[in-house]
């Protein structure tokens, strides 16, 4: 359980929450950079595009 709160001011944000927030910001930035660096290489559009190219290659009958 949490320690009793100070009557005068709210408790500071715990360090572990700050670490989580920092990791979240870094991950979001990485995704944004990846989206800018490789436009159209992420998301449903990428998969559908890749899938369309897949349909062009028909399977050869296997022995």
């Amino acid at each position: 359980m949490s320690s009793p709160p100070d009557q005068s001011s709210p408790p500071p944000m715990p360090r572990w929450v700050k670490v989580f927030a920092a990791i979240a910001v870094i991950l979001v930035l990485l995704v944004v950079v990846a989206l800018i660096w490789f436009p159209g290489k992420h998301g449903p559009g990428r998969h559908i595009h890749g899938a369309h190219s897949g349909t062009e290659q028909r399977l050869e009958p296997t022995a």
Binding site: M1, S2, S3, P4, P5, Q7, P10, P11, M13, P14, W16, V17, F20, G43, P44, R46, H47, I48, G50, A51, S53, G54, T55, E56, Q57, R58, L59, T62
Partner: protein, 166 residues
């Protein structure tokens, strides 16, 4: 919110079952996703996509939505509350985030499964390994938060505690 103990226990049980079930389903999905992404056996890849489609459609998405709804109900009917403790807020954010990404990705998986079932070479499909591993990491993080319940009152929780002491 004050509810009878029997009801809060029922909600807690449903919360654990849906959350752990979601994690287990993602692990099973990951095994299929690995086959779909790395196997060179066309029949195995096609079967993997078929299994991924079924599991995401009838198990993972329903469990994810149930986890968000029942998890919220569980927080509101317990002494922890929904916005009183940071660990509950972080859990909620991670769960909602994972569910939104899942719902977006599910459409892609269903489409890829449909293509894999045709004569196209399913080896050309990109799979969803990165999303599967990311989802698993998020769900394990949520489970760890649930067990360890790290300390930390939010401003809202602090105000509520002060009011309760007055």
């Amino acid at each position: 919110m004050t509810v009878p103990r029997v009801l809060s226990r029922l909600v807690l049980t449903a919360h654990i079952v849906t959350a752990v079930g979601w994690l287990g389903a993602v692990l099973a999905y990951l095994a299929l996703d690995i086959v779909a992404s790395v196997s060179e056996d066309i029949a195995a890849v096609r079967a993997a996509y078929f299994g991924m489609d079924l599991s995401i459609r009838y198990v993972i998405v329903p469990l994810a939505i149930a986890s968000v709804l029942i998890g919220t109900a569980n927080a509101l009917t317990s002494s922890w509350g929904l916005f009183r403790h940071y660990w509950v807020v972080v859990k909620l954010l991670l769960t909602v985030f994972a569910t939104v990404i899942l719902l977006l990705e599910a459409q892609t998986i269903m489409y890829m499964a449909e293509l894999a079932s045709t004569g196209a070479d399913p080896g050309n499909l990109p799979g969803s390994l990165l999303h599967s591993i990311g989802g698993l990491v998020v769900l394990i993080t949520v489970a760890v938060l649930s067990v360890y319940k790290p300390k930390g009152l939010t401003r809202h929780g602090w105000r509520q505690q002060l009011r309760a002491r007055e």
